[in-house]
């Protein structure tokens, strides 16, 4: 009589999710606390910037308009100031956190030697992969939630507050940006294991960022907006709301993420895990 394994009553996905979340909790806490504190500190400095900001009023309006178009940030407002300051910290550092999380979720087991333990447990590779992917979504979401709430508190303490809808629309774009990097890095690690490492993640993020700068400087390079995810995170959303969102670019980004996930999942099915 053929052996038919009895399905265990426990939910392996839930158990695996909790375990994976715990494995990456320390780095999540460090990144979230540091970015939140840095962004809050920037906002705390805003009142001290008043003199400099007044100088901006002397800048010719055409030049000011050009600067706002490039950076999305109008330094004379707290939200514009926040957008200007968030580029390096929230966008780049946040994307680095997301990208590193993406590769680490797959590769920590291979680098740390726990892969033979984990994959010899009674859970399918699919369940393991899905649990790691869910941790990816959850931690990036929580990261942005905590940073956004911390910064929002700062906006009200040190400024006159914000348009809540526009504010969270901007953070929605930031979340999607980080998620796209995280998914691409996660999928590359799923396909290529430790060959897709932290260095590869950083390279993808920095190249995307530099491409976006080039796009902003050189008119002929405007096509880069279809390649670099930084292109769809416009600071103008913070001031003007959803009307500034380029949904075509978002759709391209979503498409890239979906293709990356499918590729990663298929390759993952065949990789040797020990």
């Amino acid at each position: 009589m053929k052996y038919v394994p009895q399905k265990i009553n426990k939910n392996p996905f839930k158990i695996l999710f909790k375990n994976e979340f715990k494995q990456h909790l320390k780095s999540f806490i460090w990144w979230t606390v540091i970015i939140s504190v840095v962004m809050f500190s920037f906002i705390a400095l805003y009142p001290l910037m008043a003199d400099m900001i007044n100088l901006m009023n002397a800048v010719p309006s055409e030049m000011m308009d050009a600067m706002i178009a490039i950076t999305g940030g109008d330094l004379t407002t707290i939200t514009g100031y926040y957008v200007m300051e968030s580029t390096e910290t929230l966008l780049i550092a946040g994307s680095i956190f997301a990208g590193l999380l993406g590769v680490s979720l797959i590769n920590k087991d291979f680098n740390g030697g726990s892969s033979e333990f984990l994959y010899a447990l009674p859970a399918s590779k699919g369940e393991i992969w899905r649990s790691k992917l869910t941790v990816l979504f959850t931690q990036i979401f929580l990261f942005n939630l905590i940073v956004s709430l911390t910064s929002l508190a700062g906006m009200y303490i040190f400024g006159s507050g914000v348009n809540i809808g526009s504010y969270f629309a901007y953070f929605g774009l930031v979340f999607i940006l980080q998620l796209e990097f995280a998914i691409v890095c996660f999928s590359l690690a799923s396909a290529f294991k430790t060959k897709a490492n932290a260095g590869v993640a950083m390279a993808i993020i920095f190249i995307s960022f530099i491409l976006n700068i080039i796009r902003n400087i050189i008119t002929e390079a405007s096509f880069i907006k279809y390649i670099s995810p930084f292109a769809y995170v416009s600071g103008l959303v913070m001031t003007n709301g959803l009307s500034e969102v380029n949904f075509v670019l978002l759709a391209i980004g979503a498409g890239i993420s979906i293709v990356a996930l499918l590729f990663g999942r298929i390759k993952y099915s065949y990789i040797d895990v020990a």
């Binding site: 053929k2 052996y3 394994p5 158990i15 030697g113 399918s124």
Partner: protein, 287 residues
């Protein structure tokens, strides 16, 4: 349906051979020693059985189920890998709790195993010595009373007392009904505990033998010293004869009566007769 069935397993890592053509079965209740030189394909075969790697061709099953396609079957398996594989930033007990939850079993056996192996479960795995990490992975493998136990170099890093305790535990597991596949370079442990051996070399199975048959083939080791004679030893069934003046040693697999007749006709003043160490037999396969 066998606890383990391997059929024409081939695994290539690019151009490097893992295994070429491996086929063998492990029957229920057996303790099988899986031996071979470094790079022979032992770990590759074990990993294929457990579904950790995808075979290039061929098939492996655990209780009739392909573990690569159906991870649920691993509920019935306790695995001790050659690497010390637990989550390093967790305590040992937290690793055990993870195993218990995923296998749907309790933690009742942990305390007993930890006591017998002299192990402190509350320590963080990364703080443990190599030997203690090995104890932890052994406990994780055996705590769920699995039907099938697969061990890859399980005693490396264990001191002799703990090794003894470990083999006692394995015998008890087998007496309980567990089937065991033990891969080891320590041939004395294979000889002590296994009732069948599978020998692999250069990716292929060389031989599968029952231990009783092996013992019968290589029966006795004899060393004797004569008073005066230094003639060459002439005895049918004697092999590996070493003569140093009046001291003779050899292996014998013929009839015992003929041996006794020969010895009684020889001018002997000192003699030792013992069972042949199977290590010597196994070493032959490593050459």
């Amino acid at each position: 349906m066998f606890p383990i069935e391997v059929i024409n397993l081939k695994k290539m890592y690019g151009n490097t051979i893992g295994t070429l053509d491996v086929s063998f079965n492990v029957h229920e209740g057996e303790i099988v020693g899986f031996i071979g030189p470094n790079g022979a394909g032992k770990s590759t075969t074990i990993k294929a059985i457990l579904g950790l790697i995808k075979p290039t061709s061929g098939k492996t099953t655990i209780f009739g189920v392909d573990a690569f396609k159906n991870g649920d079957i691993k509920k019935e398996v306790g695995y001790v890998p050659s690497s010390n594989a637990l989550y390093e930033n967790m305590t040992a007990i937290d690793n055990f709790k993870l195993v218990a939850k995923l296998k749907g079993r309790g933690m009742e056996r942990v305390k007993d195993l930890a006591t017998r192996l002299d192990f402190n479960v509350s320590r963080r795995v990364k703080e443990l010595s190599f030997g203690n990490k090995k104890k932890a992975i052994i406990i994780a493998a055996l705590m769920s009373s699995p039907k099938l136990i697969i061990l890859d170099e399980p005693t490396s890093g264990l001191d002799p007392i703990i090794q003894q305790a470990f083999f006692d535990i394995l015998r008890e597991e087998n007496a309980r009904g567990a089937t065991i596949l033990l891969s080891s370079h320590i041939l004395s442990e294979v000889q002590k505990i296994c009732n069948k051996i599978v020998v692999i070399k250069q990716g292929k199975i060389l031989t599968v033998e029952q231990m009783d048959t092996l013992r019968a083939k290589h029966l006795k080791e004899i060393t004797f010293e004569t008073n005066y004679s230094t003639s060459p030893l002439l005895l049918n069934g004697a092999s590996n004869i070493v003569q140093q003046g009046k001291l003779y040693s050899f292996e014998y697999n013929g009839e015992i009566k003929k041996l006794m007749d020969y010895l009684s006709a020889t001018d002997i003043f000192n003699i030792t007769i013992s069972d042949c160490e199977l290590e010597k037999v196994f070493m032959h396969y490593y050459e």
